[in-house]
Amino acid sequence: MITSFIVENSPALMVIVPFIAAFVAPLTGRVAPAVRAWIVGGAMAITSAITLLLASDVYAHGTRLYVFGAQAATQTIAPDSGGIPVRIMFTVDPMSALMLVITAVLAFAVVLYSLTSERDHTGLGSYYTLFLLMVTGILGMVSTGDIFNFFVFLEILSIASAGLIAFRIDGGIAVEAAIKYFVLSTLGALAVLIAIGIYYGQYNALNMALIAQRMQYTLLDQVALVLIVAALAMKCGAVPMHFWTPDAYSMAPSSITALLVVASQASLYGLFRAVFTLYNVTLNAACIGWLLIVLGVLSMVVGVTMAIPQKNVKRLMAYHAISQTGYMLLGVGVGLAVLGNQSFLSAFGYVAMEGGIFHIINHAMYKGLLFLTAGAIFFRIGTYDLNRMGGLGHSMKWTMVFFIIGALAIAGIPPFNGYASKLMIYESVFAFNPILSVIAMVVSILTLASFVKVFHSIFMGPVLPEYKDVKEVPRPMLIGMGILALVVIAFGLFPSIVVDTLVAPAAHALADQGMYIATVIGGGA
């Protein structure tokens, strides 16, 4: 009975639990920091469990609707509303469920890690409040079915992450990074809000399914599309708007950087959701698809070339994050470009989309892992400067193993998960346009070269005298990294199972707009 209650109300509970914990945690922290640690850890564990339950339910029984404040959770259209879904609702389809899984796994690993890594800092009450709010924001963003609600969660996420980026003031530099991030994301959010106003003015609707059903693709809709795509591409760090990424990623505490990676994937989800669910075939698919492809290729190339000369290990990884985002844009962009052409779509379009979406989950795992190892190194030696590191492989063996796993995964070396998704992207994109595929492969090789250099300068060489007494990081941090490393290896060893059970339903749910509308409104487009 209690299980069915939790499953039934899981879309609400997964937002309620971190939200309550976010505001209870600072109070208990005054009494006993140990209690706070248990509350934060426990709340995150419960949230992850609920989220995974919800996701498995969605994969088993199809899209879940949760209408807030209605008589029944699935009553999308209130009897007195004249056939219009007026209430705020969560629409958790397989694509949302996939993002939920990513967030749940990564946030749980990060919370384990940061309970130890942030132990000695001040202001931890606010830290955990903002951390849990950030998780709430991401979970809400990826599951909401109401476009204004999406904006609200986007802003919750932005405000919480800006506070966390500035958390270690660091003589003011971290605050500079936070200002850069926050000014840009506020501008982006305002652009999204204008687009929402345009939709509301034209279609009298805020529900995504209803807007999608009424979509005419007028000139105003094109303006709205440009605003949304530009804002969310900026939030996910695609290249012409990428300049906040290295600053914010490098100045935030490492555990937060790992979560910021998920946050940028959530923005990417918003972008895909807008393009596929709101517009779908009404837009000029080839044109917008090529736009995403160009953004993707630019991100890949610029990201990796900027990464190679970096001296700060987290800036370097941040540029690689930009470059990896390019793969997702490329994969899904190819899928979008052939949308509406069923033979192309089934020949390589779906595979390209699956590759791009699979890369989202893989990227979140291995990039989160890499940032956590960077944080572990900083935890022991107090610097991110590659020139001042060396010989750490002798003392930090587990961290080194995790770094190797992450680095090989990001470079696309078998048998790690990056290889599986990149191979899908190479193959399908080759069928679409061989040149793009070649560029993707070259970028991958450069990524490998860059990480070999980083690995050598951090872990290889003789033990440096100043790091003679360096020890391995405490166990909770290792467990946090270990969870992610296990996922990376498991996804790399059994990619076909993951693709069939997790990724393919997500890709089809994303491409199938009629299904989405039919689930929410009934009847279909």
Partner: protein
């Protein structure tokens, strides 16, 4: 800089009225323009007025930071509690289970234009109160931190 006696006396006379007006706006949020956020913001302007008229040290007895912090948490928990009420009664989160139930704020709304009855609208007034308490605490503490930081620098 010390404000003149007129400003200080005026501020301390005005403060209770501002608080009462804010509480009125919060309580009648479901009947008249306004609501939790607006009322809370009105009260927070009262705190700002006190801060401008006096120094941060002088009003520490009237507006306490720890109370405001507690208020913020309390308001939020009350708001979520009002939502969870729906879950407890077997309806979705945020469902208005109290409306027309005869319980607290549960009187049925009369049809047609009417003067309005305070005891209606179910969980909405509870949420308004929660948001009011929360915004009161939150905005006042924001204003206090921002202004007290500047003052300590000794401009």
């Amino acid at each position: 800089m010390r404000m003149s006696k007129i400003v200080r006396t005026g501020a301390s006379i005005l403060y209770p009225f501002i608080v009462i007006f804010g509480l009125y706006v919060i309580m009648h949020g479901h009947l008249t323009p306004g609501g939790g956020f607006q009322g809370g913001a009105v009260i927070a302007t009262g705190a700002a007025l006190l801060l401008v008229a006096f120094s941060a040290g002088e009003i520490s007895g009237m507006v306490r930071k720890s109370t405001l912090m507690g208020q913020e948490t309390l308001g939020l928990l009350l708001f979520i509690g009002a939502g969870i009420l729906g879950l407890i009664m077997g309806a979705p989160f945020f469902a208005n289970v109290l409306a027309n139930s005869g319980l607290l704020f549960g009187q049925a709304v009369l049809p047609g234009p009417n003067p309005g009855e305070l005891n209606t609208a179910g969980v909405l007034p509870i949420m308004n109160i929660a948001v009011g308490v929360e915004v009161w605490g939150g905005l006042a503490i924001v204003v206090m931190y921002l202004l007290s930081t500047i003052e300590r620098e000794g401009a």
